[in-house]
């Protein structure tokens, strides 16, 4: 690859000093210090909610830190300057899908006042380097994601950018495409650019990064390099960091032997899948069962099918096979739309994205009752303010939602409380199975432990969560979760999905510490 005409960075590269950022009660960055030098690939690892994304957004100029500074070439830059100088590449390229590759390259530098120019020789070379010459005049929407990403990089290079931040760039790429992308990262680094790689995949960090900074609780705790940079070491640092965070909360892991009943002990199965198959090929041949009182996690990397599997349990992903919900299997489905609807009517679902679970035009109380309105109306279909208020307050109380009143607008709550409202709303009708996708994503530590407690309580068949006058009770909880610390704390068992199949099943009572569990889970996640 021809090195672009980068105005050379001095040896300092990019220096982050004492970056702090709060969102309401939540501390996202707590004095982050980090340096990335030209010519190296700096890896960034950290558990979800550690402050990684806030750091990325700060560097991208999307977020202005409360304190601290970012220096390029030794001088401090404002958010606006950063936005112009730092190129962020993530899984959704910021390109113009309706324009061709060449046009994308020219945007903002079209030349003349009236007519746009053609790409010049150096730009043609650049496209050739990026393996895009064949597509110069193709609109980006017809090209694969990898080519869109390469266009994004090419455009940045054409604009003489020399700081590249890759934020989980390959989570939607094939292995071959990923390899190609990594090769380009090395090329960029070799040509004197600063390259930062944020990734969940420890293997990639270890193979491709020169140094890996561990971000935990909004700080860079450790930087691993040389012989210290091994997958085991990164995993250990992550887990230790998370465990420290959890311990600081004062909540201990109380996996009561009694509550971790597994299937067979009393023969009662709350959920059983056999020959369960995604219609779109995300997963096949899933056989699993969840006992009454159990919390079962389903885990797997992005694209493994784990997420689709969890969606299918709630009827939000099309699947065939046999799904039985509830003790006694009173609703079983073989996959046709009607029977799936009947079976999944007993399943309450909370999605990963709070913006997709909540109604921000409604109040806290109305959100809590959103799934319920037909159950508490009178015969004419009318809702009575007092009934509504009582029910909403009952739920808000059970879920310890910290709101001034149930009339408060949804947007006034903190992230953790919003999540409690989302879960409270899903449990209001007392579904037999509660299915949650990344239940504590973006939630502060305090709310996390409360949510875990509520989930354990809900899985208990004696559970009184939900509204008192509703029929039925919770029988089990299924989570989609990829955080070892979370699975270790809340689940009884975990099914690990790799390439659309169950690659293994782990019983959490077999493990005494997160580290050994994490090692086994990661091994299964990689395909056994």
């Amino acid at each position: 690859m021809t090195a672009p005409a980068t105005s050379e960075l001095s040896g300092e590269g990019i220096v982050i000093e004492g970056l702090r950022k709060r969102y309401g009660d939540t501390i996202a960055l707590a004095g982050l210090d980090l340096t990335a030098q030209p010519g190296e690939i700096l890896g960034i690892a950290g558990p979800n909610g550690s402050g990684k994304s806030t750091m990325v957004k700060t560097l991208a100029g999307e977020v202005v830190a409360d304190e601290g500074s970012v220096l390029l070439d030794g001088t401090e830059r404002t958010a606006e300057e950063l936005a112009g100088e730092v190129t962020i590449v993530h899984q959704e390229p910021q390109v113009f899908l309706n324009l061709t590759v060449a046009e994308n390259l020219l945007v903002g530098r079209e030349g003349g006042k009236l007519l746009t120019r053609r790409i010049d020789a150096s730009e043609t070379d650049l496209l050739a380097d990026m393996g895009l010459s064949a597509h110069t005049d193709t609109a980006l929407e017809y090209l694969p994601l990898a080519a869109q990403q390469r266009t994004e990089i090419a455009r940045a290079l054409a604009q003489e950018a020399h700081i590249f931040l890759f934020d989980e760039p390959n989570s939607a790429l094939t292995e071959e495409e990923s390899e190609d992308l990594f090769r380009r990262m090395h090329d960029l680094a070799d040509s004197g650019c600063v390259v930062i790689l944020v990734s969940h995949r420890l293997h990639e960090l270890v193979v491709h990064a020169d140094r890996v900074g561990m971000i935990i609780d909004g700080q860079c705790r450790v930087i691993l390099q040389g012989d210290d940079l091994t997958e085991e070491r990164v995993a250990r640092e992550l887990v230790v960091g998370v465990a420290r965070g959890a311990a600081g909360d004062g909540e201990t892991v109380d996996r009561d032997a009694e509550t971790s009943r597994s299937e067979g002990e009393d023969g009662s199965v709350a959920l059983r899948l056999s020959g369960w198959m995604h219609r779109e090929g995300g997963f096949t041949d899933i056989d699993m069962s969840v006992g009454v009182g159990e919390i079962v996690a389903i885990s797997g990397v992005e694209g493994s099918g784990a997420r689709a599997l969890v969606h299918s349990l709630a009827g939000f992903a099309p699947a065939t096979g046999s799904l039985r919900v509830g003790v006694g299997g009173d609703s079983e489905t073989n996959g046709d739309a009607r029977s799936v609807r009947a079976a999944t009517a007993q399943v309450g679902f909370v999605g990963a994205n709070r913006a997709e679970n909540l109604f921000f035009n409604l109040s806290v109380g109305e959100n809590l009752l959103a799934r319920l309105s037909t159950d508490i109306c009178d015969r004419l279909g009318l809702l009575h303010p007092r009934t509504l208020r009582d029910a909403a307050e009952h739920l808000a109380d059970q879920f310890r939602v910290k709101a001034g009143s149930v009339d408060d607008p949804m947007g006034s709550l903190s992230g953790g409380n919003q999540q409690k409202v989302a879960i409270g709303a899903a449990t209001a009708t007392r579904p037999r199975i509660l299915v949650l996708e990344e239940p504590t994503r973006g939630v502060d530590v305090g709310s996390k432990s409360e949510i875990y407690r509520l989930l354990r309580q809900y899985a208990d068949p004696e559970s009184q969560l939900g509204l008192p006058d509703m029929e039925g009770h919770g029988e089990a909880v299924v989570l989609y979760c990829t955080e070892d610390a979370e699975i270790f704390e809340v689940a009884d068992r975990v099914y690990v999905i790799a390439q659309g199949r169950i690659s293994g099943e782990l019983n959490l009572s077999d493990y005494d510490d997160v580290e050994s569990f994490a090692a086994d889970r990661v091994r299964l996640e990689a395909g056994g």
Partner: protein
Amino acid sequence: MTNDEPPTTAETGGRTLSRLGGMGLQRIGGLLGAIVIVGFVFAVWSDWLFLKPGNLAVMIRLMGVLGIIGFGLLVVLLVGEIDLSFSALAVLSAVVMGKFWVEFGWPIYVAILLAFAVAIGVGLFNSFFVNIVRVPSFIVTLGSNTLVFGFTLLVSRNTPILAQELPPDPEEWQLRGGDYVDAAEYTFFRALASNYALPGGFPLQVIWMAGFAIVFGVLLSRGVFGFRLKAIGGNEQAALLAKIPVRRYKTMAFVICACMAAVGGLLDFSFISQVQPNQGGTYLFPVFTAVIVGGASLAGGRGTVSGTLLGALLLAVISNGLGLNATGAWVQQMWLGTVTIAAVVLDQWARSRQRGESLGAGLQDLMVRFTRMNSRR
């Protein structure tokens, strides 16, 4: 933690709807104030002619039409969609009814049912393309608006339909020619919206409006129906996750809007006993403006019956006042345009003040939401 950004302005934008139908007192007060001020200006300008019972009756009748059709539009806006076909449909249903009743001599009840069947058909047509084919409702109803208008011209052959009572003397009937309807049916039909029924010459349309206002008010502010409409309009994705039957509610919304348009069209027909097939677009913008001025959000999930009523009254006052002072059609059109834009700007301004932001941010927010609405699928 890192995902824990405070909700974006688009998310916090919606005021809480839980209290008393969700209309801030501030807004009701603002609208009432505007109505009083505008009304006073017209009253003085017209040398108090504006406040004569006869004129008030005319004005209130207009408010009735705007309100009745507006309730239907409100339902569609609440669920997060848009309908541009209702105005053309109001005329089509009247034309269909007139055709069968006046020209073909069918019984009036059958003709009325046919008019509603056509309305329901158009509502289902709109919702089919929105729900199943997944075309943005703006585009679907822009198309069906024109389709309906074309169909109106076809059915009526672009000639007005006049409902006349069969005169007692058959010879006179022979002499004058044309189509006549049964006297009893004619009396019944004219009585639907007559202005003899109420003291002061107030037309019966007002009673219709009041009745619908109560039904819609209760359904929307207290009913599961309204609650779910607002939920779907506020966040369709979340409504799907909550297993609210989104498609069914959208279908109902389009059908209700179509039926209310038919009600408005038929009552108009009843009042003036004539339908002009080429007047399809008359109500489109006044009704839209009334509903938006009344606080309904184009982005969905926000709006009330009380606001729509006040919006309809304000529009009726402006329209009637300008008509009365004989300032020409162009003034009316320009006022209508001004009021529409001003209403939305004021609304954004009020909301951005609540959030302590600039007006620009509020308008940008509206644009983002509107773009999102139209590119959702």
